[in-house]
Amino acid sequence: MQTDDRSAMRAKFARPAEQPKHSGMSRRSLLATAALLITTSGATARVVTKVLPWRPNEAYPVTPVVPGGWLFFTADEAAVVDAIVDRLIPTDELGPGAKDSGVTTFIDRQLMGPYGGHDWLYMQGPFADKPLPTQGLQSPLTPRQQYRQGLAALTAYCKANFGGHAFADLSNDDKDKLLAGMEKGDVKFEGFSSRMLFSTVYANTMEGYFADPIYGGNKDMAGWKLIGFPGVRYDYRDVMDNPNKTYTLPPVALQGRSAWGAR
């Protein structure tokens, strides 16, 4: 696919004109908190001689995501994503699932960063129509495009096959059946691969559920608590000295934990 076609596609599936409502927060302030990754680190010294470079206050943290509102998704799109991730990892007796842990917020903010545009990937053409299964990702579609087009295709599919209903309105059974079909590639959407949408949402859900809470998901370290992952604590010499024992310290994230006092 040539570059012209891609920009035409982008224009065709661009975000609708309606402005989302962000419960009082300005879009600019939310954008500032989208946990955009700093793309260069340590790049202060181009030529190095005589001494190791050092400056005070030099660190490259990500900006913490502030939840609330959407920067990429429309309210409707967010509702669909919420409904999907809620089935992928439901809230149950083992604790909060993906939706309640903020995974949709995670995905929304990730799409605004370099991941969303595949900024770091090799996106030069030509793009092959029929790559070998061993050749991996060959689509020119960025994650932003995949969500925009994929969610629209899913919505259209549900309207056509479930009596005009949205995905979020389906029964849990119907949702699960549909998702299972998408996962296998058995469901045919109009103009978009259902399998591609499923695999992207699935991958982002795992990321959002288990990534550091600073990115907007894994709220209160719910994902980490599910498996007993202690987070960013960096010293386990005591664990090595006490093999086959239950680890009892609560998990800690980049922004700390409750025992660090309120931030």
């Binding site: 190791l52 050092w54 005070p56 206050n57 025992a259 660090w260 006092g261 931030r263």
Partner: protein, 418 residues
């Protein structure tokens, strides 16, 4: 005759005499065109660490232009290369000696004691001449420095005469006949060119060192300069002479790693001094007596700040400083029983968490381990808690730290609130 005796016999007499003079700082005779004097001057300039202040960041050494932060404003260090228009090219050896001994420029205007003439006054005339000879041997560098940067009323230099009357007694070092030669050599270096007291002594409201608190600790540039009397708790009492020598020579000893301004002192000055001189300084510091305040009662482990501090320490500090504060030799400073932790002034501990810091790097120990900057990660309350925890754990006992104190330091080292 043996070959060595033959070699000595063929040396010109003035070199022979100068060789003898190398060991005798108080001898007469200095010749600014004489290689030996210039070389001797270079060693003295190293001891005095002139380059540290008289060099702007990224600038030519000794050409001045560094903004020295004082409680009264910033003072720009002058150009001491022998440039006629902008440096000391037109100065005589007498002019230079007067600057060192009396704090006066040619023509009589006064220098601010940011130039530590209150210490350099102890330097012998011969050594002053040797330093001057070395500076004259540098390439002249044209660099105009604005010497009037202090705000009113501090820009009135003549007011220094009152200050000097109160706080300055000029006079060359006089050895104490009751002490060893080594002690006196150490005293000469520490009290004179070393000007250690300039940082390691508290200042009064007029910016003068409190002479009754000499070497009991001070603050410079938002770093704590610790007590370096022989006090067991807060000073060098637990250090051996060898520890002190080691610290000055390679920037680390007994789990302590020089950082901040002391890193520069080690790298530019003490690591390049002779072992004999370093030992003399160590002997002086260890033998001149101990003064320090007694330990406070440690803050209880149940205190809320200690609990918060412990959680932070366990989660993130212990990976380097170890759960029991023992540190890792050559890489991560020891916190248990550490002198810097015991100081009344916690500024270094606070600022190094906020801004990070790099330890001294020398040829023997090139690593220069660096503390990462964590000001972005911990707020004022959290830093206050973890510093309080460190100051009162592992056998340590020192005053707790407030969030307000952290906020003030943060403002100084980052120019930003958290």
């Amino acid at each position: 005759m043996s070959s060595i005796v033959k070699q000595i016999a063929t040396l010109r007499p003035r070199y022979l005499l100068a060789l003898a003079l190398l060991a005798m700082p108080s001898a007469a005779l200095a010749d600014s065109d004489n290689y030996v004097d210039v070389a001797r001057g270079k060693a003295l300039v190293t001891a005095g660490d002139c380059v540290a202040c008289h060099t702007a960041p990224g600038g030519t050494p000794f050409a001045g232009g560094l903004a020295l932060q004082t409680p009264f404003g910033a003072i720009m260090t002058p150009n001491i290369t022998p440039d006629n228009a902008t440096g000391i090219g037109s100065w005589s050896a007498d002019d230079f000696a007067r600057a060192m001994h009396e704090g006066k420029r040619p023509g009589g205007t006064r220098l601010y004691p940011a130039f530590p003439y209150t210490y350099y006054t102890k330097v012998t005339r011969a050594d002053s001449d040797a330093i001057f000879a070395y500076l004259r041997s540098l390439d002249p560098v044209s660099n105009t420095v604005n010497r009037n940067t202090l705000p009113f009323p501090f820009n009135i230099r003549s007011s220094m005469s009152a200050w000097n009357a109160l706080f300055f007694t000029p006079g060359v070092f006089k050895p104490d006949p009751n002490k060893s030669e080594e002690f006196n050599r150490g005293a000469y270096l520490v009290e004179g060119l070393g000007h250690c007291g300039a940082c390691h002594t508290p200042l009064n409201a007029f910016g003068a060192n409190k002479s009754d608190k000499y070497l009991q600790g001070g603050q410079v540039d938002n770093w704590t300069a610790p007590n370096i009397t022989n006090d067991a708790r807060a000073g060098l009492g637990k250090w051996s002479v060898d520890d002190v020598v080691q610290y000055l020579k390679v920037g680390q000893a007994r789990g302590v790693i020089a950082s901040g301004p002391m890193k520069d002192v080690v790298e530019n000055s003490t690591s390049k001094m002779s072992d004999a001189d370093l030992k003399a300084m160590a002997v002086y510091l260890k033998e001149r007596g101990a003064t320090g305040s007694p330990a406070p009662s440690p803050v209880s482990a149940d205190d809320g700040r200690m609990k918060v501090g412990e959680a932070i320490y366990v989660d993130t500090c212990s990976a380097c400083h170890v759960r029991n504060g023992s540190g890792i030799e050559h890489v991560f400073p020891k916190l248990a029983g550490a002198t810097i932790v015991a100081q009344d002034d916690p500024t270094s501990l606070i600022r190094i968490i906020i801004a990070g810091g790099r330890g001294a790097a020398t040829d023997q120990r090139p690593t220069g381990p660096a503390m990462p900057s964590l000001g972005f990660r911990l707020n004022d309350e959290q830093i206050a808690a973890v510093v309080t925890y460190v100051r009162n754990s592992f056998g340590n006992a020192a005053s707790p730290v407030t969030a307000d104190a952290v906020k003030a330091v943060r403002g100084n080292v980052t120019g930003a609130a958290d």
